[in-house]
């Protein structure tokens, strides 16, 4: 069986659960981080010269993480908490 693909799907799933269950913005971010690792695994698993893509994706991911954290700081300044339920941010 295709081990890396299965692993990738597994990591994706775990990350997604983390996103759905996250009560706080930082937990959600952890979930997103894991999901992006899952994509990396898929890129690596293919027998192609994809190292450049992987490096670039790690960088893009880091930038997004930093921006999300800036948003977290901004939220904290407004609300004194990062609890998403408290501010209704995740209500659908």
């Amino acid at each position: 069986m295709n081990v890396p693909l299965l692993a990738a799907l597994g990591i994706l799933g775990i990350g997604f659960l983390g996103v759905l269950a996250g009560r706080n913005l930082l937990k959600t971010l952890v979930g997103v981080e894991l999901m992006s690792k899952a994509a990396l695994v898929n890129f690596v698993a293919t027998d192609a010269a994809s190292q450049g893509i992987v490096v670039l994706l790690i960088l893009v991911d880091a930038i997004v993480v930093a921006v999300v954290m800036a948003m977290a700081v901004s939220m904290y300044r407004q609300y004194d908490t990062l609890d998403l339920d408290a501010m209704g941010a995740m209500t659908w």
Partner: protein
């Protein structure tokens, strides 16, 4: 197919990921995420991508963890004291990860070839650039844009700060009013 070490590394990534998602204590969560990143870095290394491995370890494992701790210390009252009291320890920990990753690079540069099918004698940087120059350019710009975004989002909002006068909301909760300066159209 994937080597045994690779499979083990993937398994470690998954397990640490589970821990990161399941645990409650943010400090443990960050540690689990960092471990997951390190495990993935091992996987990358074993699969013939030493440079990617280094990036993953330093950036995703080290830098992201440091950022997390920074934000936690700023935003979660429980941890402000925790982090302040252990700043030295945390700094050493992050430094160790970084140095460890540098060691990997050193090793990689001297012994390991790049991913299959590429000319191992060309410097990585040149290959990297040659394969997708536009993407590298865009990501570089993205870094700058990210810094701008971060700078904007973390702008302090105090009585002195006015970001008033934008099209539909001239007045602010702080009570700072924009001056009436416009002419009649």
């Amino acid at each position: 197919m994937t080597s045994t070490v690779g499979v083990a590394a993937l398994a470690a990534t998954i397990l640490c990921g589970l821990a990161a998602v399941g645990l409650r204590d943010m400090i443990w969560v960050v540690s689990a995420l960092a471990s997951s990143s390190l495990a993935l870095a091992v996987f990358l290394f074993v699969e013939g991508m030493p440079y990617a491995a280094v990036f993953e370890a330093t950036v995703a494992g080290g830098l992201v963890s440091v950022l997390f701790l920074l934000v936690i210390s700023m935003t979660d009252d429980d941890y402000v004291e925790f982090v302040r009291g252990r700043t030295a320890l945390l700094a050493v920990g992050a430094g160790a990860i970084f140095l460890g990753a540098l060691g990997v690079v050193w090793q990689g540069l001297s012994t390991v070839t790049l991913s299959e099918g590429t000319d191992a004698t060309e410097p990585f940087v040149e290959q990297f650039w040659a394969a997708h120059p536009l993407d590298v350019l865009l990501v570089t710009v993205l870094v700058f844009v990210g810094v701008l975004a971060i700078s904007r989002l973390t702008t302090p909002i105090g009585p002195a700060e006015t970001e008033t006068g934008h099209a539909d909301d001239p007045t602010q909760p702080d009570g700072v009013e924009a001056a009436e300066t416009e002419e009649i159209a």
